[in-house]
């Protein structure tokens, strides 16, 4: 069967044959070689184009999980984690999925932002400072995957009330007691204490928060207060300052709410002047070792450069050889 394409053979065969230099035989060989190359290109093109539409049609089944965070700086964030089913039937993080975040205002969905997921399938959006609240004084955020070229449509909704945490500390308190007051803003703008809410206490470290003790959860009383006593001798910074945090983690009604405060309860951090002294087992080598290696190999390489220079001089030698000037 003859394959019809824009790369059809006659295009090559119809070319005028140059008679100069090469004979017609080498040119025919060249022509047949080009034909083979074209066939290979054609085969690859067919494979590529035949695969692409099929691949485009296969949308992956996707799923969304959502969370809400209120950080210590009072910013509010909604997070959508998108997973998609792979060929083994397992859900794995879906990257580059377009997630549309909506907020619900009087039964109407308002588009907040379209965000693409990262490599971990995570899409993050900052919510408005004042969110529209429903009759139950809760706000609703919806995340949707709509008309995505890679993933099937999916959606998820979260509904949370807004809570606040205030941390009360006394830096001179030798018992190192932190009181977290959990409140909810009422209709009239007053703060209403929340009872029986589990508050987790943490200490801020360099790369995140560390639970302040083995049992670091305390429930709030009728005043919305959770009292936690920090242990002695927790390392602070060089000034002895310690950042403590109180958090609601995955609360069904209020989501993740956090507040932080600094106090001088920490022990002073002693920073070593030279944390990595030069040694065989440290990142920096001892100077005598560097000097020895540099001297030895530097000496050898200098000798090589001397030889290269001699070779250069041999090359640039302008002397004309005479009968007398031969090697003795």
């Amino acid at each position: 069967m003859k394959i019809i394409s824009i790369y059809e053979y006659p295009l090559i065969q119809d070319r005028p044959v140059k008679k100069k230099g090469l004979g017609s035989k080498p040119l025919a060989t060249l022509s047949s070689f080009l034909k083979i190359k074209l066939l290979i290109v054609l085969a690859f093109a067919v494979m590529f184009f035949s695969r692409t539409p099929a691949m485009a049609q296969e949308k992956k089944e996707s799923s969304i999980e959502m969370a809400y965070f209120k950080k210590a700086d009072l910013t509010k964030w909604a997070v959508a984690i998108v997973t998609a089913k792979n060929t083994d039937g397992k859900f794995i993080p879906a990257k580059n999925a377009r997630v549309s975040f909506y907020i619900q205002d009087s039964n109407e969905l308002q588009l907040l932002k379209n965000v693409y997921t990262d490599n971990k399938g995570k899409a993050l959006v900052q919510l408005r400072k004042e969110m529209p609240l429903d009759t139950g004084r809760a706000f609703v955020v919806v995340a949707k995957i709509e008309n995505d070229s890679l993933y099937e449509d999916a959606n998820e909704k979260i509904r949370f009330k807004e809570a606040n945490i205030t941390i009360k500390l006394n830096p001179h308190d030798t018992s190192r007691t932190a009181t977290a007051v959990v409140t909810e803003t009422g209709k009239d703008g007053t703060e209403k204490p929340l009872k029986d809410i589990k508050v987790n206490f943490y200490v801020q470290r360099l790369f995140g928060s560390m639970p302040a003790a083995e049992d670091y959860s305390v429930n709030t009383d009728e005043n919305g207060e959770a009292v936690f006593t920090y242990a002695k001798g927790i390392p602070g910074d060089t000034a002895g300052l310690l950042t403590v945090a109180a958090r609601l983690d995955d609360n069904e009604q209020y989501g993740n709410v956090e507040n932080k405060a600094s106090t001088s309860w920490g022990t002073h951090l002693m920073v070593e002047k030279d944390p990595f002294p030069r040694a065989l087992w440290e990142p920096y080598a001892p100077l005598p070792l560097i000097l020895t290696i540099s001297t030895l190999f530097g000496g050898v390489w200098l000798t090589y450069f001397f030889i290269f220079n001699q070779m250069r001089k041999i090359k640039n030698d302008k002397q004309v050889k005479t009968g007398i000037e031969q090697k003795q």
Binding site: T303, I314, Q319, V320
Partner: protein
Amino acid sequence: MVNERLNLEKEIETVREDCLKPTRKWGRSTKIWIGCLLIVIAWGLYCYIHQLRAGLGVTAMRNYVSWGLYISTFVFFIGISHSGTLVSAILRITKQEWRRPITRSAELLTFVSLLFGGIMPIIDLGRPDRIANLVIFGRVQSPLMWDIISICTYFVGSSVFLFLPMIPDMALCRDRLTVCDTRFRKFKKWLYTKMAIGWKGTKSQWHRLEKSMTVMTIIIIPVAVSVHTVVSYIFAMTLRPGWNSTVFGPYFVAGALYSGSAGVILGMAAFRKLYHLEKYITPRHFDLMGRLVLALTLIYAYLNLNEYWIPAYKMATAEGHLLRDLFSGSYSIVFWTLQFGTVLLPIIILSIPKGRKPLMLAITCIIIVLGAWVKRYIIVVPTLLHPFMPIQEVPGDWSSYFPNYVEFSVTAAALAGIFLVITLFSKMFPMMAVWEVEDGIKIEHDKQRAIDIRIQREAEEARSRALETDPGIQPIKPDIIIG
């Protein structure tokens, strides 16, 4: 006098022709040989690509034995590379005149084995694209870093050491080989012209060349010793039974010189037979090289004894397990075959004058070279299989190792690569340093002339003494005395 000069020139011309002859034609057997080597290389490449795509799991190496045949071969090739240093540099510095016909092949063997030896650790990497990280993030304290530095330094040095004595020969090739040789004529002419770097043979050029050769001869010896010492440090500076040894540096150097000189003899024997160089590489060369190998084997045997006898006397726990495995366990047959077959047997054979005849010596050297290769394997693998922490709760095949077809194929390709480069080199360039052999002939000629003059002087003195005692004696013409 004129006759003498003519004879000398004729002899030199014969040397030149004999050296250049192999570069002029590619016989059918050469083509078949190259074809076979290319097939082995292509198969090895295919296996290596398979290893790259599928990972090191396709080899027999596992978590415990992560240095298998590849690293053993690396150490072996680096050892062979000492041949050039020994035969060329040491014999040159000690002014051994008999070295002249064999230096080129020794230097070439150094260059090629270093080239492929340097590739072996890269082949052993699962991600060779990360090799640059070893330099970018390298620690000067690490013996691996020293290894990279010293091998690169030695490679550059041995390349220069090979190239320097080739310059006058390249000029010779440029001036005469292209006239009668039609195959690749243009390419050869271009190559020889470039490699001759404008050599005209002037006095100042000879002076610079000889100065460079002297300097390189001196510098390449410590560099070569440093390379194999540093290779031994890779093992000796890790806490493992069998490698925790202070004698490893000299042990490796001695082993390298012993296997390297045996490699040179094999090269000599091959080129002598293939390129009909019997006139230049004589049984005397084999006899002298045989004596050298004997001396090196004795040194190696002494260090070998130290390497095993001292830990065997103590039988410390971890070392004891390893040594028991070597002496009477799963490696005992190989171990004792190596000790008796490749150390003791060569000592006996080489001690007998008949054992240093070309054929017998070549067979002995094959045994030595093969033994040296297996010995590297015995140094690397059993130690890895006897770590301080016992091998427990791992798949069964992790506690034993034997290279599989991928490793054998890739290693065979590296060996074929060495043979291919040597073959192509010998078909492009003279395998003897023509000018050095010429120099040797001239020196021999001068010596002969000095002897003649001395005889003449003694004859004249005898004649004058005779005339003093009996004035009636007819004077004898000096020409007649010289003959």
